[in-house]
């Protein structure tokens, strides 16, 4: 019966191999997630390894880990919400989805909230880095933190014109938890920056170490950040009612301001309002990287002839470390485009009040300045009305033909 080559054993073998492959691939171990240190700042402040280590230890004691967040009472954060958003993606005992941040946000914003998740480098603009604590679209003054509601609005609406999508359909509870977690990551990032910068102010008797007392850490490091988040809730810009003038008249006045010296919107947004004015500026996130990398670049060109041997070694070590931080912890700096105002795509929302906030307070982190000191509230409203009319201005003074200005907004 040797003609028959089939027997049970090869079948059994194949099934066994397939089965064990499935088993093995499903059970790969992934290391526990950890927060990344702010390498750029550490290198910039020339922190010693033991100082970096101290910062990491204190941060972990104050804020915990990505899997086990800690909310110190001074932060005012809700630990229940943080737990819902933190940790790996899993369903808890009542079937509620946990690990929301890692499911929905971390691939762009990174586990640390440093805006350097795996997809970050492909995106333009880059995802937000929460660590400096600057937020663009909000209802508070330029230097203030956003309110909780501001961040909820961003998550619900997404940021049209960027890669940030809408998360409204996740439901209120989940969006709320995610906003809490963003605040947590931002506070953590800012506390880290505060500590790294504090070494500079230490006395000789501190021996290069931060005092590890609760008083110091809370008063000097945590509260300056946390309090500003709490204050923001009551610091919403008051918006006077829109003046009661004819809309066409208001638009005409807004136009005059737009092109005039007082508001001077034309400088960046361009005479055509297509966002083709000054285009070689950087936003604050990119500016930090740009300026420092220029500095490092010029340090590379410094002559080491006059240096002692120790100085030379130190110089070389600093440059190696700086290059490493710039390559590994920063994205290639990119210039910021002033908004094209004729596309009807607005990142910070399209409600008149959203425009009012942005013109009044400017955009934190971006070159857009606050107009509050220069323009009266009525004048701001005129500019708002003019800007809102721009995508539909077919027969304006420019005489642009319809097909050019009203390009299909694909």
């Amino acid at each position: 019966m040797c003609r028959n080559r089939f027997s049970l054993s090869p079948v059994a073998l194949v099934l066994t191999v397939c089965g064990s492959l499935l088993f093995v691939s499903g059970c790969g171990k992934t290391p526990a997630a950890s927060f990344r240190p702010n390498m750029v700042e550490a290198a910039k402040q020339r922190l010693k390894p033991e100082q970096e280590e101290q910062v990491a230890t204190i941060l972990e004691a104050m804020f915990g880990t990505p899997d086990n967040p800690i909310a110190m009472p001074e932060t005012g954060l809700d630990i229940g919400k943080l737990r819902l958003a933190a940790g790996p993606v899993h369903s808890d005992i009542v079937g509620r989805k946990n690990g929301l941040f890692r499911e929905h946000c971390s691939h762009c914003h990174g586990v640390t909230g440093d805006g350097m998740g795996p997809t970050a480098a492909f995106l333009n603009p880059y995802p937000r880095d929460y660590r400096p604590g600057w937020f663009k679209f909000k209802s508070t003054e330029r230097a203030d933190k956003p309110t909780h509601g501001d961040l909820v609005t961003i998550l619900n609406n997404g940021i049209y014109g960027t890669s940030m999508p809408s998360f409204e359909l996740l439901g209120e509870a989940k969006v709320d938890a995610l906003v809490e977690y963003v605040k947590y990551l931002s506070m953590r990032g800012e506390a880290e920056l505060n500590m790294m910068r504090y070494f500079f102010e230490l006395d000789d008797e501190d021996e290069g170490k931060l005092p590890e007392t609760r008083d110091f850490l809370v008063e000097e490091i945590l509260l300056p950040v946390a309090e500003r988040w709490q204050e923001a809730e009551d610091a919403v810009i008051e918006v006077p009612e829109m003046p009661e003038v004819d809309l066409a008249e208001s638009i005409a006045m807004g136009k005059e301001l737009f092109y005039g010296n007082k508001a001077n919107c034309v400088k960046c947004h361009g005479v055509t309002a297509l966002g083709d004015g000054q285009a070689n500026d950087y936003d604050d996130w990119n500016k930090v990287v740009k300026q420092w990398s220029d500095e490092v670049q010029s340090s590379h060109e410094v002559s080491t002839k006059e240096m002692s041997r120790e100085e030379k070694a130190e110089h070389r070590e600093y440059l190696t470390r700086a290059d490493k931080a710039l390559a590994g912890d920063a994205l290639e700096p990119r210039t910021i485009q002033p908004r094209n105002l004729r596309q009807a795509i607005y990142r910070g929302g399209r409600r008149p009040i959203d425009f009012y906030y942005r013109i009044h307070a400017g955009i934190n982190g971006a070159p857009m300045p606050a107009a509050a000191g220069t323009l009266t509230p009525d004048e701001i409203w005129h500019v708002v009305n003019y800007i809102r009319s721009l995508p539909y201005e077919f027969d304006g003074e420019l005489g642009a033909d319809r097909s050019m200005v009203a390009r299909d907004r694909l």
Partner: protein, 263 residues
């Protein structure tokens, strides 16, 4: 005897395919993995086409699988001892038959479904778009024309992911993509249409029942494809108008909303 066992194993294995295949279809509706509820005016036609083709292919599937089983069972070398196989050069008649039958069937299906296809993809209602849907990674941006009925005017209403349409009315959607290929899929309305960058594609339907249903992307469009999810709400004309009105008022807000409305 060991080899005879192998023959039995293979025959049973091949028999298990049609048995399990038919079994899965038989229990699917009762465990809720069958077609989603149809709430469209044209859905019945699409579903009956689906059932018709399913029955046709189902019968062919069962017959061929049974034949396969029978041949493996009956002509197992181990069971037939030293009996020699007959060498034949094929059967011209058989080949002609099994070419012509499927060809005729295919041709029949192609002609039979033409009307349904034309209704869904060619005979569009003469009207202005109800809403423009712009697909982008990874969300659905919506633009309603506002009271004047024209898109691209200052009274347009901009929304995201939350599509509303009135019930029992012709709906015409202008579908675009901002970046890559997407597919606009409303399972409960039996409607699926690719969104292609650079093209304005009309999509139309008429909903027959109120309710909330899924809007999903049915074309792999990038890493976040699986969460490119929206929602369609089908509601009465009055509710729809009230909703539009409320959303428009929200968009025109000149004062902040009270906190409890944001959260």
């Amino acid at each position: 005897m060991r080899n005879r066992l192998a023959g039995i194993f293979w025959s049973i294995l091949f028999l298990a395919v049609p048995v399990l295949g038919v079994g899965v279809f038989a229990i699917a509706p009762s465990i809720d993995v069958w077609l989603p509820k149809d709430v469209s005016s044209h859905g019945k036609e699409i579903d009956s086409l689906f059932y018709f083709i399913l029955a046709l292919t189902g019968i062919v599937f069962i017959v061929t699988e049974m034949l396969l089983f029978w041949f493996i069972w009956k002509y197992d070398a181990a069971a037939r001892g030293d009996e020699k196989a007959t060498y034949i050069h094929g059967s011209h008649t058989l080949e002609v038959i099994w070419t012509i039958i499927p060809a005729v069937t295919m041709l029949f299906l192609a002609i039979y479904q033409m009307n349904a296809w034309a209704d869904m993809k060619m005979r569009r209602p003469v009207m202005k778009p109800t809403v423009e849907v712009v697909a982008r990674q990874f969300e659905w941006r919506l633009r309603y024309p506002g009271p004047d009925g024209d898109l691209g005017t200052p009274d347009d209403l901009f929304l995201v992911n939350d599509l509303h349409v009135p019930v029992d009315e012709d709906i015409l959607i202008q579908l675009k993509s901002m970046d890559v290929l997407h597919s606009f899929f409303l399972p409960n309305l039996r409607m699926k249409q690719d969104a292609v960058p650079g093209m304005k594609i009309p999509v139309w339907f008429k909903a027959t029942e109120t309710g909330q249903y899924d809007l999903v992307c049915a074309e792999l469009c990038g890493w976040g494809h699986y969460k490119m999810k929206g929602r369609i709400t089908i509601e009465s004309r009055e509710d729809y108008d009230a909703w539009l009105e409320a959303k428009y008022r929200e968009q025109e807000a000149t004062q902040p909303e009270p906190m409890d409305e944001i959260l």
